[in-house]
Symmetry: C2
DNA sequence: GTATCAATGGCAGGCACTGACATCACGCCT
DNA sequence: AGGCGTGATGTCAGTGCCTGCCATTGATAC
């Protein structure tokens, strides 16, 4: 019998999700989340550096997945092959959790500051991918442009995937988007 | 002779820029900015809803410029023509103020929350442009993807333009980036 | 001259977040 | 068994961003 109930972080995360979904991110205070999880506000901030962190805490795991996909990409891979490798990993990670992503996406899109943070997260992804392309010989600005375009496309496709009713796979949507993008840039 | 010195907003903006450049956005308090401008903190927040707003206050003017460029684009314009029209306007707006943009870009890139906000601003642009493309018959997701890709490309090109020493024009950089992007997406 | 207005100041307070210190079950060491 | 360090937590005071409310005061209109 331990002194404290275990899983404080997980209880905080669950409490936060419930409250955010019901009242919106901005109208939920850290104190309320802590109360619902049965801990003090101070403890909340020990587990999550900011209130936003509750929603973006899995960012490092996703980033690690991307890095791993990049490492498994050949040293002479063309940009498109690198993107496909990354998209394949992310799709495999997200596809089984569509319901979760729908909720999360709804919460994020209902709040401007969260939306900002979401964009920032994807910029980090884009930078990591750009570095991989630079390693493969692409000039820096060129690598940034193409990586950001690819990640941005993925983000939009992800949003429609998590929102709409069509069963089209994330990966298929991404491939189609890239092809259409090329056409539209002509 | 008015009761108050005029241009409180402008004095606040100037004071803020000086302090941000010297100490960094996060280490400057609203109180310090207000003191330097000779007004109270409360007055600062009457002119700028948030501290960030000082740096992004011109967003509406830029947005108006974009909207105007969109209106002057023919109803049957292809996406690429629309982007070129917008880029032309923005380049004309930015090109003469390169020194200002360099400072501003440095301040923004030195702070994560400002960087987030910057990304958000560009998402607003992308949405406006996407709507114009939807009006011209492009399906919504497709319009979002291509608009976001174009805006993102512009942002990266803008960053290198405001940073490096090359005299290559913003517009030329943008055109090149789009061409390269197409190649790299193959 | 009086009423109104517009720009500002002052103040109290809410919320996010931080640093410092106290508490206390648990488990290890002797 | 008894003492002791450890780790998760609580408490409290404080800073900074931001808001609402009300008072002040020169300028302007009538």
């Amino acid at each position: 019998m331990t002194r404290w109930p275990t899983d404080a972080a997980e209880r905080l995360r669950a409490a936060a999700f419930e409250l955010f979904e019901a009242d919106g991110f901005a109208d939920v205070t850290a104190q309320q989340i802590a109360d619902r999880a049965g801990v003090s506000e101070r403890t909340f901030f020990r587990y999550f550096a900011t209130k936003e962190e509750v929603l973006f805490g899995d960012g490092e795991a996703i980033l690690a997945e991307i890095v791993s996909a990049l490492h498994s990409s050949p040293a002479d891979a063309r940009p498109r092959q690198v993107f496909d490798a990354v998209a394949l990993r992310l799709a495999a990670l997200f596809e089984p959790e569509r319901a979760f992503h729908r909720t999360r996406n709804a919460v994020i899109h209902a709040d401007a500051s969260l939306h900002e943070r979401d964009l920032w997260k994807q910029e980090v992804w884009a930078n990591v991918i750009a570095n991989a392309l630079i390693d493969r010989g692409l000039p820096p600005t060129r690598a940034s442009v193409v990586s950001s375009a690819a990640v941005t496309s993925f983000r939009i496709v992800y949003a429609s995937w998590s929102t709409d009713r069509s069963r089209t796979r994330l990966l298929a949507r991404f491939s189609l988007a890239i092809a259409e993008l090329r056409d539209d840039l002509l």
